[in-house]
């Protein structure tokens, strides 16, 4: 793999600005990578023609002195849950796609920043799963072991980054769908504070838990992409070089694969050695988060899909259909109870973040599971794959706190492990500043992406 293919946006931007690298060349390289790795099923729609037209326009603007910023002329991918005008939004489903007349606002912001939209990435159908083996466009395969899941639901996005098919990606996250594939594939993914980026023009799963956010190879790049998506400069956070981290403990957080636990211990040691403070914390009531999540996401998803289930039930993957049908049976009184407990969980996370700069925990409790696996074993106990994969991320969808996944080395079998930093609500730029400062301690100096199959 040519090194240029895996350069970061931060490295490429000045070269593009000076005219040393042409946007059309970047598009060509990315398209060649997509073509050469089709068996991974990362993309649903490749937009080669419009990408070359956008590259030509970017080159013209840059050469005439109208450089827009670090995203200008950079190819990015968009999860196929997000509307791009005139391109079908399939949601990874055989249910008839919608044909949007307009871009989602988030796509508009990419265009304003001059990014080149290369295509739409594969996902777990309707973003309702973590393994991406339920997609009408084929299971998304993990570049590090093709018999394994790339996580989900924004799996195609993560694979597109690992394999050099683009330089930045847009994902969505309702229970961990940006952070889980980032961890499974060794990339960086940011779920901002709830409501910080607009979810209009994106097929909803659970409107009160849905987030959209950037995925990249480095924290610096995720900051650049996030800044472009907000449409305004991020505040500069300066002055601090030492931070306090809280590692949540208790049943919910301790049920983690031994190799992932080992990676967390190594990160903890490196942070302490670098002069940071790391302490154990407890998030009150955290163990109820999976139950609260079910009683909020299921009815919200069932409400959106009711009309499509009525007309196209047979077009859904059987597992996705059943989970959606289940949501229709949930009692309103239990939904109200879940809302009350959700408020309590939000207070609990706020409280521990009053005592530290960020929470530190794995983004994914297990290494990427085998495609099709229904259960995994952790410390000798069997557990459904979906529950194990969501366990460490879904809490922060309920509470709306910003969270970022960062690669933290690999297992003995060569599979990526990802850590997660969680910051205070409404302070995503501060979380990014912390993440940039400690990225080296988290990755262990191995870099932010392993380069997949090379």
């Amino acid at each position: 793999m040519p090194a240029a293919d895996l350069r970061s946006i931060a490295e490429l931007a000045p070269l593009v600005a000076r005219g040393d690298v042409s946007p059309a060349d970047l598009v060509r390289r990315c398209l060649a990578r997509i073509e050469g790795r089709r068996e991974l099923n990362a993309f649903i729609t490749v937009m080669a023609e419009s990408a070359f037209a956008e590259a030509e326009r970017a080159a013209d603007e840059i050469s005439s002195g109208r450089y827009r910023g670090p995203l200008h002329g950079i190819p990015v991918s968009v999860k196929d849950l997000v509307d791009i005008a005139g391109t079908p939004t399939t949601s990874g489903s055989a249910v008839p796609a919608r044909m949007p007349p307009a871009d989602a606002p988030i796509v508009g912001r990419l265009r304003e920043a001059g990014a080149i939209i290369l295509g739409k990435t594969n996902l777990h159908e309707f973003a309702f799963g973590t393994t991406s083996d339920e997609s009408a466009f084929g299971a998304v395969r993990n570049p590090f072991d093709r018999s394994r899941s790339a996580g989900g639901s924004s799996s195609g996005a993560a694979v597109s980054l690992v394999e050099g098919m683009c330089y930045g990606a847009i994902g969505t996250d309702t229970g961990g769908s940006i952070r889980i594939p980032s961890a499974a594939c060794g990339t960086v993914g940011l779920k901002p504070t709830y409501g910080e980026l607009p979810c209009d023009g994106i097929v909803p799963l659970s409107t009160t838990c849905d987030h959209v956010g950037p995925m990249t190879r480095t924290v610096a790049d995720v900051r650049l992409l996030f800044e472009a998506l907000t449409g305004q400069p991020l505040p500069t956070i300066v002055g601090r070089t030492r931070f306090t981290f809280g590692i949540p403990g208790g049943g919910l957080f301790d049920r983690v694969d031994a190799e992932v636990r080992g990676a967390l211990a190594r990160v903890r040691d490196r942070l302490v050695a670098a002069g940071h403070t790391v302490r154990d914390v407890e998030i009150a009531q955290a163990q109820i988060a999976p139950d609260v999540y079910l009683h909020i996401v299921l009815p919200e998803a069932a409400e959106y899909h009711a009309r499509y289930l009525a007309a196209h039930a047979e077009a859904y993957s059987p597992g996705v259909r059943l989970r959606l049908e289940m949501g229709g049976y949930l009692l309103a009184e239990d939904h109200v109870r879940a809302l009350r407990l959700r408020a309590r969980l939000t207070e609990s996370v706020d409280r521990v973040l009053n005592e530290c700069d960020a929470l530190l925990l794995p983004a994914l409790a297990i290494p990427a599971p085998t495609l099709g696996a229904q259960a995994v074993e952790i410390d000798g106990a069997s557990e459904p794959v979906r529950a194990a994969m969501l366990r460490l991320t879904q809490l922060f969808n309920l509470t709306g706190h910003p969270a970022i996944a960062i690669p933290a080395g690999r297992t003995s079998g060569g599979l990526p492990v990802g850590m997660q930093l969680v910051g205070s609500r409404g302070r995503t730029p501060s979380l990014l500043a912390v993440a940039e400062a400690v990225e080296g301690q988290i990755t262990g100096g191995a870099g932010s992406v392993g380069g997949g199959t090379g």
């Binding site: 009531q285 009692l331 109870r337």
Partner: protein
């Protein structure tokens, strides 16, 4: 509504709709709802006692 009554009615409906495979998921949901109600009762009791809000 008692969870046992809800589960019985939901399973009967799923059967009637030709979705018998939904029953296992509904049983899982029933266990989750039991946990949820227990946690909510504890929270309400805590607040009634003037404990930590």
């Amino acid at each position: 509504m008692h969870i046992e009554d809800w589960l019985r009615a939901a399973c009967a409906d799923a059967e009637k709709r030709g979705l018998p495979e939904l029953k296992a998921l509904l049983e899982t949901l029933a266990r989750s709802t039991t946990n949820l109600r227990r946690a909510d009762e504890a929270l309400r009791a805590e607040r009634a006692d003037g404990g930590t809000p």
